[in-house]
């Protein structure tokens, strides 16, 4: 286990380094000067040079990248004072520390992604179980057809539609908003319910189909037949044997889906105008706010990499062959 964690941590650091470099150099591939934006309309070349120096973009790009990376690991000195490690720099637009802004926005995105995942795992997997348990019946066929239709409902289509139908016209759900969980749990839940449902729709549909097909596959396995031959009841055979065997493929897919879940959460934030990392990322691109963009990218990558390690560690819990190998 220790070796596994060590190996995966090294891999994670390599991935983060690559992502940071790609983002940094890609930013400068866009022919746009962030200093020009900050300087305003009546900008003289002298003023521009001062702004460029203040923003730290007067140096060559590789040097900037080097200083940025040093800042993350060792902290960095700015004219306004020392920025302790891990320093992600200051925003070009409002001069706040990037890390502070990101940490402000994390709870929204995190609530959205985790809540959405809970919804699609619970609903999707139980629908899949239901369909597999009653395979071949009308219920199974209806669930499969419904999941095909819902599986093509993109967030930017479903979001406004649901907002119009369920909030503006019928007031079934409340207006999406972010209320911190610690302040008002009920308000947190009400404000995020619609975004959760919209975010999880495609996932729910996919997990229904996936759970159904893996379970049906598992039910044909030799060891499941052995369980039947031992006289185990249908629920025991289904849950203790077939479901247990389905966990590995489901966890694998979930690990792969983490990236799209995070991306989906960002699109959902944008759709419902919630103050999360998604909005922050889009704003920082349109405003050429390099430190903010770098911060969001690195943070998102870090979270996904960490969760992937966590998911892989889950294999050991599920499968004794992995645990004891």
């Amino acid at each position: 286990m220790l070796r596994f964690l060590l190996r995966r941590s090294l891999g994670a650091i390599a991935i983060l380094l690559i992502i940071s470099a790609v983002t940094f150099f890609l930013f400068y591939a866009i022919p746009r000067n962030p200093a020009l934006l900050a300087c305003g309309k009546t900008c003289t070349p002298d003023q521009l040079a001062i702004v460029e120096r203040n923003l730290g973009i007067d140096k060559p790009v590789p040097v900037q990248y080097w200083e940025y990376m040093v800042g993350i690991f060792a902290g960095r000195d700015y004219p306004v004072g020392h920025c302790p490690a891990p320093c992600l720099g200051y925003s070009f637009t409002d001069n706040r520390p990037v890390l502070e802004t990101i940490l402000d926005r994390v709870p929204t995105t995190f609530s959205l992604a985790v809540g959405g995942a809970v919804v699609f795992l619970v609903v999707g997997l139980s629908m899949g179980m239901l369909a597999a348990w009653r395979r071949g019946t009308l219920l199974d066929k209806s669930l499969s057809s419904a999941s095909l239709v819902l599986g093509s409902m993109q967030i930017y289509f479903l979001g406004p539609l649901a907002l119009a139908l369920l909030v503006y016209n019928n007031q079934i759900l409340s207006q999406p908003e972010y209320v911190p969980l610690t302040e008002d749990p009920l308000g947190w839940f009400n404000g995020l319910l619609l975004p959760w449902l919209v975010l999880s729709t495609i996932f729910t549909a996919n997990y229904t189909r996936m759970a159904r097909s893996t379970l049906i596959e598992q039910l044909r396995e030799d060891h499941v037949r052995t369980a039947r031959a031992k006289g185990m009841s249908r629920p025991t055979v289904f849950f203790r044997y077939a479901w247990r065997g389905s966990l590995i493929p489901i966890v694998t897919i979930f690990g792969i889906d983490l990236g799209s879940l995070f991306g989906g959460a960002m699109i959902t934030e944008f759709t419902f105008n919630l103050p999360g990392l998604g909005r922050l990322a889009v704003d920082s691109v349109t405003k050429s706010n390099l430190p903010m963009l770098m911060g969001v990218m690195l943070f998102a990558a870090l979270v996904i990499v960490l969760f992937n390690i966590l998911v892989d560690a889950c294999y050991a819990l599920i499968d004794p062959r992995v645990r004891l190998a």
């Binding site: 030799d222 060891h223 499941v224 037949r225 052995t226 039947r228 031959a229 031992k230 006289g231 599920i318």
Partner: protein, 341 residues
């Protein structure tokens, strides 16, 4: 064959599967009986219906696609069409099964102890501790060293032969009266095969169970079976005691099986004679003898009769073939026996 009702009796069993191409008659009119303490060997090629037939006894066939007719009675109790609950109480308790591949037939997620104890807890209402002790006892009985330690191991920590021992321990944990072993040694290497067969025979002596041994290996039949049933294309084509069937086989298909089998005592220069052709499609079997297209003796009977009329298998010792008894005796003595020497 006795006239009183046998321990297990299968009468005119038919298992048909509805597929997109039509009805597959996997088992088509199979009858046999087994008594306590006896071993019936069922031999036949892949696809001859031996596994399907025996899985149907315990109701393990797919309920959605298979249609079953005929009668299966165990100790006088009718099993065809019996409710799932009845079969559940029977499975692993009165009648147990051992499967071919012990790697895939055991669940990788639970310890062998738990898998062995499970049917004992369910059928005997034993407590966790009693069941665990029983599992250790069974592991010892099937010859697994240090059973008290190995009980907490997972199947992948055992070798192939040891896994099959675990399977046997699991099948025998409730002292079943009937044990169905579906090619229990096919996936194992030869030295282990012999150990597993010996073990099964020892346990049969101890528990007095009836055993159905399914195999395509006549060597296995010779070493363990009391009675033999030769299956071809979903039907029985020859039946008798092991001495009768292996000593004086009557059906051309059985002859083919014997001459295609390598023997250690035979002349190495002598070539093996495979049975020409392949088994018939079970989708739309011809009305005549299913072995007719591959049979070398059709002309002795007259092709018309073999193609048009299905030979019946007589009760007791006999073969489903249109050849007369005299013909069979002569052909076996003159054409087949010399090849086996």
């Amino acid at each position: 064959m006795t006239t009183t009702s046998p321990f297990l009796s299968v009468a005119d069993l038919r298992v048909h599967f509805a597929t997109e191409d039509g009805v597959v008659k996997a088992v088509d009119g199979l009858s046999f009986a087994v008594e306590r303490g006896r071993t019936l060997g069922i031999v036949g090629e892949s696809g001859s219906g031996k596994s399907v037939a025996t899985q149907t006894i315990l109701g393990l066939h797919s309920r959605e696609t298979a249609t079953v007719s005929g009668h299966i009675t165990l100790e006088g109790q009718e099993l065809t069409g019996a409710p799932e609950r009845t079969l559940e109480r029977l499975r692993g308790n009165t009648a147990a099964m051992i499967f071919q591949d012990p790697l895939t037939a055991l669940s990788p997620y639970y310890t062998v102890g738990r898998q062995i104890a499970e049917p004992y807890r369910k059928h005997r209402g034993a407590s966790r501790r009693e069941a665990r002790e029983r599992a250790i006892e069974m592991l010892g009985k099937v010859g697994i060293p240090q059973p008290a330690q190995r009980v907490d191991d997972y199947p992948h920590q055992f070798s192939g032969g040891m896994r099959q021992r675990v399977m046997i321990a699991m099948a025998l944990v409730c002292d079943p009266d009937l044990l169905i072993a579906d090619e229990p040694t096919t996936a194992l290497d030869v030295t282990v095969q012999a150990q597993i067969l010996d073990l099964l025979m020892e346990l049969q002596d101890e528990f007095g169970s009836a055993i159905i041994m399914i195999t395509h290996d006549l060597g296995v039949i010779a070493s363990v079976a009391d009675d033999v049933l030769v299956m071809y294309a979903g039907r029985a084509v020859e039946r008798g005691t092991v001495h009768e069937v292996l000593g004086a086989p009557q059906h051309p298909y059985t002859w083919g099986l014997l001459t295609s089998m390598p023997r250690l005592t035979a002349d190495v220069e002598k070539e093996l004679v495979p049975i020409a052709g392949s088994p018939p499609s079970l989708l739309s079997p011809p009305p005549g003898c299913p072995f007719e297209p591959r049979c070398a003796f059709v002309d002795e009977v007259g092709r018309g009769r073999c193609v048009g009329q299905r030979p019946a298998l007589p009760e007791g010792r006999g073969a489903a073939c249109h050849l007369t008894d005299d013909q069979r005796r002569t052909f076996y003595a003159e054409r087949i026996r010399p090849r086996l020497a």
